[in-house]
Symmetry: C2
Subunit: 216 residues, 2 copies
Amino acid sequence: MSDRRTAILEAAATVIARRGVRGLRVEELAVEAGVSKALIYYHFEDRTGLLRRTLAFVNNRAERYTAEQSAVDAATGAAPASGPLRQLEQALLLELQDLPHVRENSTAWGELRASAVFDPELRGELALASVIWVREVADQLGEVRPTAPESALVASAERLTALLEGLSARWLSGILPLTDARTRMREAIGVEVAHLAGHTADRSADGTPTSPNKLD
Amino acid sequence: MSDRRTAILEAAATVIARRGVRGLRVEELAVEAGVSKALIYYHFEDRTGLLRRTLAFVNNRAERYTAEQSAVDAATGAAPASGPLRQLEQALLLELQDLPHVRENSTAWGELRASAVFDPELRGELALASVIWVREVADQLGEVRPTAPESALVASAERLTALLEGLSARWLSGILPLTDARTRMREAIGVEVAHLAGHTADRSADGTPTSPNKLD
């Protein structure tokens, strides 16, 4: 990817995090990226093309947190996360860190998602990114609980990723302290992993979760 | 509350759901509510006052879903939700309904919360509304699991409400089908209630959740 194309995408994420998708003006983006408006249209054709590529960029950047953390651990000699549960926790908790790029990335993601409430043009990309993320977390859960049924793993992964988005939104808007958000997330992983263990013990091959009806 | 004051708050929720907090212009609000700009300033002093009252209005409207549903059940002779678990499920699932006022209310709430990422003026009200909601859900969980420790009930309630916000955001933006969102929410209630039962059995009086460390 060319440097200037990357600079435009970085600037687009910054402007969207700051003003929302509705507030993204190509004039301001050009100033922020230090390029001409013409270059933005040359690289991204139109506003929709720009938004789609920004969404993919924001998404890829979030995926890189994990890789970067592993590199930092290796460079500093810190013990890397070992065991599938540690790795799952680390991957999810990386999104709850008080670092400027994490805040900006999560805020931009939230704004891009919110834009899809009224404008369907990004829905396909958002849904795909969500499915891929759920799949990754389901795979990690499957390493922790190898005998849990596939559908139960996916359901747990969907709950954990949706919870992470809910906690992240509360933290970013100053409603929930970061330490509380991280504690709730860590607990939720424990609760889901215990739930998946119960599934295995019950040998519920169809993955149907225990009905709440049976609990009262 | 005067009819015109209510009309202004209803219109403010509509405009915020449609354009976000940043997009709320008093001119457009006056047209939407069918009142003069002067009347808006008379009732709400300034923009911050208007936003604060709109947040409270949106929040109270969400609380009324439950009461209205009970009234509908009574009028139609439908069996009301019985038992504390049924009531908890019903209260949480009312926010995942494909009804215009639910969509508008949840969208407006999400936009008001997102506005607090950069503008701290609504944070106090948002945090208070969140604490009250968590308290209500914790009380309902306590009726299902009377011997679970208080701190475990609050932690479960915080996870369930944050998950509901995360699932709601995915549904509203067209990423997750409504039936999936409702299924995930129902499962999560079952998982948390089972988790609280384990707590009771373990007699962990301090409410510290089972550490995920012990699970792998």
